[in-house]
């Protein structure tokens, strides 16, 4: 068995890595690197699950690691990258409400708030161990940072990435605070995949149906004005 102290050290480093990827997702303007950064974040999560498994050796964690690796590190990023090729957007430089710098500062403040709130709420639960508490705080912070991406980005496809990184935060939180039955985790992943498929397909729709849409409008007028059958 690997030394527990070493594993705990690795977990801490990985948690910091997660936050760095989240910060990068908030601030970058290049769409391709956004997707690969999400993929990296998911891989970090998989490593975290493996490290936790080394500590606790519960088989659920291993299953979570496997499912996350396949779905979040490979399938979803690949799918989004393909869609991006199709709609030919490389950069997302439009932000509203928040500029990247303000969002970064804001997320630092949020992390502090999350720390304080969780310290109060989890006072009486067995999650008082330092490491697990740290993981829970990072999980919630990751979720809020993902939400900030959703708020500040204009393009739907970057919003999808924000949503995905929110979901990563929930998974992280769940991993550190408690262990849910595996079937639930598995169903959530399936739900997520359907959601991503649908939103990305709809995003393509936004960009491609515009001409089609104008054609339809034209037909409307004909139908409304004279009694012409389409």
């Amino acid at each position: 068995m690997i030394d527990a102290a070493l594993v705990q050290g690795i977990i801490r480093i990985l948690l910091v890595c997660v936050i760095i990827t989240a910060a990068y997702i908030i601030s970058t303007r290049n769409l391709l690197s956004l997707v690969s950064m999400y993929s990296l974040q998911s891989v970090t999560l998989v490593c975290l699950a493996l490290a936790l498994w080394a500590l606790e050796s519960s088989p659920v964690l291993l299953a979570i690691a496997a499912v996350s690796l396949v779905s979040k590190a490979i399938v979803i990023p690949y799918f989004i990258a393909t869609i991006q090729e199709k709609i030919r957007i490389r950069r997302d430089i439009e932000f509203h409400f928040l500029s990247p710098t303000t969002s970064l500062l804001l997320s630092m403040a949020l992390m502090l708030v999350v720390y304080m709130v969780l310290a109060r709420v989890l006072r009486n639960s067995p999650v008082r161990e330092n490491l697990f508490f740290f993981g829970a705080v990072i999980g919630i912070s990751l979720m809020l940072m993902g939400m900030m991406v959703m708020l500040s980005r204009k393009r739907a496809i970057t919003k999808v990435l924000g949503f995905l990184s929110m979901e990563n935060g929930v998974l992280l939180f769940g991993m550190f605070v408690t262990e849910l039955p595996f079937i639930i985790e598995f169903l959530i992943i399936i739900d997520l995949i359907i959601l991503v498929l649908l939103t990305t397909i709809l995003t393509v729709g936004i960009d491609s149906t515009l001409e089609d849409y104008h054609k339809r409008l034209h037909r409307f007028r004909l139908v409304g004005g004279t009694e012409e059958q389409p």
Partner: protein
Amino acid sequence: MILLAYILAALAALAVIALSSTHRRMNAACIIHAALVVVLTVYILLFRQVPVASFLIGSQYFFMDSLGLYEVLVASVIFTCAAVYAGGYVESLLSSGELDQGSLKLFYASWTMLLLVLVLAFFCDNLALFWICAELTTILSALLVAILSARENIDAAIKYIFIASASMLFSFVGLIFLFETSRTVLGTGTLNWTALMQHASVFPAGMALAAFALVFIGFAAKSGIFPFHTWLPEAHAKAPSAVSAILSAVLLNVGIYGILRVYAIVHQTPAAATIAPLLALFGFLTVGIAAFSMLPQKNLKKLVAFSSVENMGLILIGVAVSTPLAIFWVLFHIMAHSLTKASLFFSAGILHRQYRSRLSTEADDEIRDVFRLQPLAAWGIIIGGLAITGMPLFPVFFSKLFILRELGHTSLPALFILLALLFVIASALGYFVISAFSRVTAAGTHSDIVPYVTPLTMKIPLVLLIGLIIITGVVFTQGETAFFERIVQELRF
């Protein structure tokens, strides 16, 4: 085992839809499926011991109690009417080119799936499983909104998905809190509602409060509670009217159902004293925002959609009062609102086909000569409007009256604020109806509006629903009372 019957019915309907090539047959499959769900649910209610002992998969994931059966019954009645209505409505969408022939299969397949997932959601004992089903309802209904593949429909659908799903993630964190609480208290963690209800009284207040607050965010977004209501008017106004009726009359109930279930758990902890005023506050804000959004509204479907926001706020206030009588009438109001709102959207749909705005659904409706062109829809709007504002003889009258009465017992100033807001809403509806329906082309001048021949399949469900509304408003049987009382008891209020 009876749950399998529901699943099999849905699968059969899906198979028929996949194999059939005509619109008529797909529509028939949907109607029969929904009717089967009604029959099954009535059968269980009358002849089975409720709660039905469920079949097991590892641990108890599903169960059928009175509340779940009640919600399924309301949902399936609305679905049956809406499926009949969709027959005529989709036909006219097809002929005007708003819906592609190719999307037809997708439309009916997601329609059937939506009913199946809804039924499963209402029968979930495990709250995490309920969460997943609720998420799936969001996705499937967003698909139904986006099916018209006009840009504004896709925009509305994406907004709906993002707001609802992102908030639902908060709910999931709340459920993790709940799971952790149960693990601390009981030793083994569980998310089964029945188990949580048994032990809820020993849950620590702080954890219960945090869990409920997070869960509330997600389900509030699903039921259009302020400040997460922004997706609602757009999605409801832009969806095809048959879908709008379902969104408003059934899907909003999923959110309220989730809030009710989780509130029933935390109601037994000391945290209830903090949560109830918060719920009431959100309820008031929701009713308020709906009232002042309705006042300047010129688009009929948006007006009706905002009225749904108002009713959800009212239900939330009723839940916050949380006396047994208030919960009793909240349950009644859920049904009354669903029936009335579906009928309103059916009428609005007919008017929408007649006067469809030529540029966008965003534009004002150009309603004129309504009694000459669409007398049934006009009367549908008038009767539905009277019913939803709570005139006597209609079911909403009783539920509003008693919720207000219970609120008055708790706080008199709150009652007066609510009354004032309800008055604003009633006048907004009245103003719209009077100004829109009194527009008449002067005799002799030529009107360029071509009358829309409303197919019988769109008229029948409308008449049927109005009949149902009047029946539920006038007749109140002993069995009905006993049934609602049993639900209140199951929820332990």
